[in-house]
C-alpha cells in the first residue's frame, strides 16, 4: 500500500515539476539573451486558456497545444517589441505583461469556466496504479517527454553550439557581443518569443493535463516560482530541472501530508512552496554572496551608441 502511495507522490511530483520546469526553461533562454521577462505568469495563463479553448472547440489536442504555444509566444512579442525595439524598462514591461496576460485570459476564458474537457492529454501508457518508477515514468504524457527533450536540447545548444554561445555572449556582455558583430536585437527578440512559447507549453500542460479545466487565476503564482527557479538553477538547465523536481515534490507532498500522519492545516500546506521558494532564494543568494550567476547584462536596454 505504501508503495502505491509513494508512487502516487512520485507521479504528482513529476507532473508539478514538468509544469514549473518548462516555463522556467523558457525564461532561462530569454534571460540568457539578457532580457528579463517578468511576464511568465501572464504568458502561462495565455497559453493555458487558448490551449483549453482550442481543445474544447476542436477536440484536437494537437491543435490545442500548437495554438497554446503560439499564442503565448505572440503575446510575449509585446514585451520583445517594447524592450528590444523600443528599449524601454524591462521590469515595467514584464510586470504589465503579467497583469495584461491574466486579465486577457480571464476575458477570453470566461465562457469556458467550468466546462469539461472531452479530450485530455493521456499518458504514454495508461497504468491505473503504477507500482514502480518505470511505470510512473511511462504513465506521464507526451509533454513530460518533450520537456526532457527540451532540457537536453537547450543545455546542449547553450553550452555546445556556436548559436547557443552567441546567445549567452549577448546576455553576458552586450557591448562585446555587439562588437563581435552578433545580432543583438534579433537574438533577444527571438529568445523572448521562445521563452513565451515555452511558457505557453507549460500553460497547455496545466489546462490539458495537470488540472484539467479552466478557471481564473489558476496559474496561482507558478510563473513567479518559475522565475525563482531560474535563479535557483543558476541559469543552468539541469540544475533548474533539479529545482523543479524539488518544488514539484513540495507541491505534491502538501496534500498528502495527512496520509503520512502529519497534522497540518491544508491552508498552511498550500503556502509552504512559496515560503520555501523565498527561503531557498535567500539562502542561495547568501552562500553565493549576492552573485547568483545571473547573466551580467540582464535588464539593460541596449543602444549601440551608449557609452
Amino acid at each position: 500500500m505504501i508503495d502505491v502511495q509513494l508512487m502516487g507522490l512520485l507521479n504528482a511530483t513529476l507532473q508539478a515539476a514538468t509544469l514549473l520546469f518548462i516555463a522556467a526553461l523558457g525564461e532561462l533562454i530569454t534571460e540568457k539573451s539578457g532580457i528579463l521577462n517578468l511576464g511568465v505568469e501572464g504568458m502561462i495563463s495565455v497559453g493555458a486558456v487558448s490551449g483549453f479553448i482550442t481543445a474544447i472547440n476542436t477536440e484536437s489536442l494537437f491543435l490545442a497545444v500548437i495554438v497554446g504555444v503560439l499564442s503565448a509566444s505572440a503575446f510575449s512579442s509585446i514585451h520583445a517589441f517594447v524592450t528590444v525595439v523600443l528599449k524601454q524598462d524591462q521590469t515595467v514591461s514584464g510586470l504589465i505583461l503579467t497583469i495584461l496576460g491574466l486579465s486577457l485570459s480571464s476575458l477570453i476564458g470566461k465562457p469556458y469556466v467550468g466546462k469539461k474537457l472531452e479530450v485530455k492529454l493521456t499518458s504514454l501508457i495508461d497504468i491505473a496504479e503504477p507500482s514502480n518508477i518505470f511505470q510512473v515514468l511511462l504513465n506521464q504524457n507526451l509533454i513530460f517527454y518533450i520537456a526532457i527533450l527540451l532540457m537536453i536540447f537547450t543545455a546542449y545548444i547553450l553550452k555546445k553550439t556556436m548559436f547557443g554561445r552567441r546567445i549567452e555572449a549577448i546576455g553576458e556582455d552586450l557591448k562585446s557581443a555587439d562588437s563581435m558583430g552578433l545580432k543583438i536585437a534579433k537574438t533577444q527578440f527571438i529568445a523572448t518569443c521562445v521563452g513565451g512559447a515555452f511558457a505557453g507549453l507549460s500553460g497547455v500542460y496545466l489546462t490539458l493535463s495537470y488540472v484539467p479545466y479552466w478557471t481564473d487565476g489558476m496559474t496561482s503564482g507558478r510563473g513567479w516560482i518559475a522565475l525563482a527557479l531560474v535563479i535557483f538553477g543558476g541559469w543552468k538547465p539541469y540544475r533548474t530541472a533539479f529545482g523543479a523536481l524539488l518544488f514539484g515534490f513540495l507541491e505534491a507532498l502538501g496534500p498528502r501530508l495527512q496520509t503520512y500522519g502529519f497534522e497540518m492545516s491544508p491552508y498552511i500546506v498550500k503556502i509552504t512552496p512559496y515560503i520555501i521558494t523565498i527561503l531557498v532564494l535567500v539562502f542561495l543568494t547568501i552562500i553565493k554572496n549576492g552573485n547568483t550567476g545571473a547573466p551580467k547584462n540582464i535588464g539593460i536596454p541596449f543602444f549601440r551608441e551608449n557609452r
Binding site: M162, S176, A177, S179, L182, E305
Partner: protein, 497 residues
C-alpha cells in the same frame, strides 16, 4: 603614393551639444602602422568607433578598398576587414579564450582553430590554454587576446585604441615585436592610439593628430617630426602663465604620508606616495589618466578606505575618518567623473547643487526648498552658471555649466583643502578660463589645492609645484620655475631623460 586602403571624408558626429567629430578627414595606407594622437576628448575613439560601425556619423563618407560604404554596422565593418581593439576590454569575462576568439561571425579559423591558436599565441607570447576563462587572465594577457581576436577575424585594418595603456613596459615591447611581425608577414594596416610619445616614435611610420574633434595634422612622417612639434599640435600653443605666482604660502594644510593602494588583482595602483600642500599653494599632479590619479583623490577624500599610509588635514589624522567628517574639516573634492560621482545623473540641477551641504538647508527632517533655491541662486550668480531650468535633470546642462555648478558647490563655502581632478576636461576655452580663475581665486584666499590634470597648459598656468604620476608612483617633482613642458611631457610618457 598608392590610393589609400581606407578613406574618410568630412565625417561629423555629435553627442547632444558636443561635437565629437567635426568634419574629419582621415586615410590609411596599406601595410603601414599609423599613429593617432590627441588629448583626452579629442575624438580619437569616436573616429575609430565610426570606422568600426559602432557610431553612425551624421554626415560624411567612408570608402574602404575603393568601395563606398552605404550601410554600416559592426558586422559590415568586419566584412570589410576592419577590426578594433577598444579602449576598454570588449571581452566576455566568463567565457574562455576560445569562445572569445571564435564567436564572431567573421572568424576564419573554424576548422583549424587549434593550429591557428598555437601559431598566434606563440607570436603574442600568450602562455595560456585556450580553455582558460578570460577572468583568470592578467590585464596584459587580456590585451593579447583582444588583438588576437582581430587576427581570427582576419582584419586587415587593425584599429588599436590605447592598447598599451594597460601594459607594462616589457609587455609593450613584446607587443611591438608581434605587431612588427604581423605588419611584415600579413601586410596589416594598423592604427595605434597612445598618449605615450615614445611609443608613437617606436611603433609608427605616419602620424595623425586630433584636437577638439578636428584633424589638425595628417600623415606626418614619424621620422621627420620632433616630440615638441607633436606636443604643440596636441596641446595647442603653449601659453605662458597669465597668473602671478607671488602668492603667500602658510601652514601645511594637507599632508599625505606613504600612501600605497593595492587592488584586488594585486596590482599596485598607488605606490608609496608622500607630499604636503601649504595654505595658498597649488600642487599640480600631471600624468596620463589611469596612472593612479583617481585612486589618490579617493584616498584623500575618504572614499577609498583600504589603503596603507596616512592622510592629515590641518595636522589632524583623518586616515580612518569617513567622507562627511572630512568635509566638516573643510575639505572639498571635485571628482574627475563629473556626472556619476560628483553629480547624480537623473536628478535635478537643484538637488545636485546641494549635495555637499544639504544638511545646512534642513530643519530636522524638513528640507527647505527655499533655502536650497537661495543657495543655488547664489551659485548661479557668483559662478555665472547658465541653468535654464533648475528643476530639470542635471544632464540638460552643458558640460561647462555642469562643471561650474560642481566647482561652485564645492568652493562657495571657502574650503581650506581642495582636491580637483580634471576640472576642465572637455570644456571650451571660455569655460576653462572661468574655472581657472576660480581656482586661483581660491588659492589667494588661502586654500591648499591639489590639482590633478592631464592638460599641461593648465598645470603650468596654475601650479606652484608639479608632481608627475606614472604607474602609481611619483616619478618627478619640480617647482614651477624649473619645470618645462618637455621635462614634464617626457615624464608623463614614461621616458627617463
Amino acid at each position: 603614393m598608392s590610393s589609400p586602403i581606407l578613406e574618410v571624408k568630412s565625417v561629423s558626429k555629435s553627442f547632444g551639444n558636443i561635437k565629437a567629430l567635426d568634419n574629419v578627414d582621415f586615410y590609411l595606407q596599406k601595410g603601414v602602422v599609423h599613429g593617432l594622437l590627441g588629448e583626452n576628448g579629442a575624438g580619437k575613439s569616436s573616429l575609430m568607433n565610426v570606422l568600426s560601425g559602432i557610431y553612425l556619423p551624421e554626415s560624411g563618407t567612408i570608402k574602404i578598398k575603393n568601395q563606398n560604404i552605404h550601410k554600416m554596422n559592426p558586422d559590415i565593418a568586419s566584412s570589410f576587414g576592419v577590426g578594433m581593439v577598444h579602449q576598454e576590454f570588449r571581452l566576455i569575462e566568463s567565457f574562455t579564450i576560445k569562445d572569445n576568439l571564435t564567436l564572431s561571425k567573421a572568424n576564419i579559423f573554424t576548422d583549424n582553430f587549434e593550429e591557428a591558436y598555437e601559431k598566434y599565441s606563440e607570436i603574442f607570447t600568450l602562455n595560456s590554454s585556450y580553455l582558460t576563462p578570460i577572468n583568470e587572465l592578467s590585464v596584459g594577457e587580456k590585451q593579447k587576446v583582444e588583438i588576437m581576436k582581430l587576427i581570427f577575424k582576419n582584419s586587415e585594418i587593425m584599429l588599436l585604441d590605447e592598447p598599451t595603456a594597460v601594459l607594462t613596459p616589457q609587455e609593450t615591447l613584446q607587443l611591438k615585436e608581434s605587431l612588427d611581425q604581423l605588419s611584415q608577414e600579413d601586410d596589416k594596416t594598423i592604427v595605434l592610439i597612445t598618449h605615450k610619445l615614445k611609443e608613437i616614435k617606436d611603433f609608427t611610420e605616419r602620424i595623425f593628430v586630433m584636437k577638439n574633434g578636428k584633424m589638425v595634422a595628417k600623415n606626418l612622417e614619424t621620422e621627420k617630426v620632433t616630440d615638441q612639434e607633436l606636443i604643440e599640435l596636441m596641446m595647442g600653443e603653449v601659453k605662458t602663465s597669465n597668473f602671478k605666482k607671488d602668492n603667500k604660502k602658510g601652514d601645511v594644510k594637507l599632508e599625505v604620508k606613504d600612501i600605497s593602494l593595492t587592488n584586488s588583482e594585486q596590482f599596485k595602483s598607488l605606490d608609496d606616495i608622500s607630499f604636503t600642500i601649504q595654505s595658498g599653494e597649488i600642487l599640480g599632479v600631471a600624468g596620463v589618466s589611469g596612472n593612479g590619479q583617481v585612486e589618490l583623490a579617493n584616498v584623500i577624500c575618504g572614499i577609498e578606505k583600504e589603503f596603507q599610509g596616512r592622510v592629515l588635514i590641518n595636522s589632524q589624522d583623518v586616515s580612518k575618518k569617513g567622507v562627511k567628517s572630512r568635509k566638516k574639516l573643510s575639505l572639498s573634492y571635485i571628482p574627475e567623473n563629473r556626472l556619476g560621482v560628483g553629480l547624480a545623473p537623473g536628478v535635478s540641477v537643484l538637488d545636485n547643487s546641494a549635495i555637499k551641504e544639504y544638511f545646512k538647508a534642513s530643519y530636522g527632517p524638513h528640507l527647505s526648498k527655499g533655502k536650497m533655491l537661495g543657495y543655488l541662486n547664489d551659485l548661479i550668480k557668483q559662478f555665472a552658471i547658465k541653468a535654464p531650468d533648475v528643476k530639470a535633470e542635471i544632464s540638460t546642462l552643458s558640460g561647462g555649466n555642469m562643471q561650474k555648478l560642481l566647482m561652485g558647490r564645492e568652493l562657495i563655502s571657502n574650503p581650506e583643502v581642495i582636491v580637483a581632478a580634471q576640472p576642465t576636461r572637455g570644456l571650451d576655452v571660455s569655460a576653462v578660463e572661468a574655472i581657472h580663475k576660480l581656482i586661483i581665486n581660491q588659492r589667494d584666499k588661502g586654500s591648499a589645492v591639489l590639482l590633478i590634470s592631464e592638460d599641461l597648459d593648465e598645470l603650468f598656468k596654475l601650479s606652484d609645484r608639479i608632481i608627475v604620476l606614472y604607474e602609481g608612483r611619483v616619478v618627478k617633482e619640480v617647482g614651477i620655475d624649473s619645470a618645462t613642458i618637455e621635462t614634464i611631457g617626457y615624464a608623463m610618457a614614461g621616458i627617463d631623460e
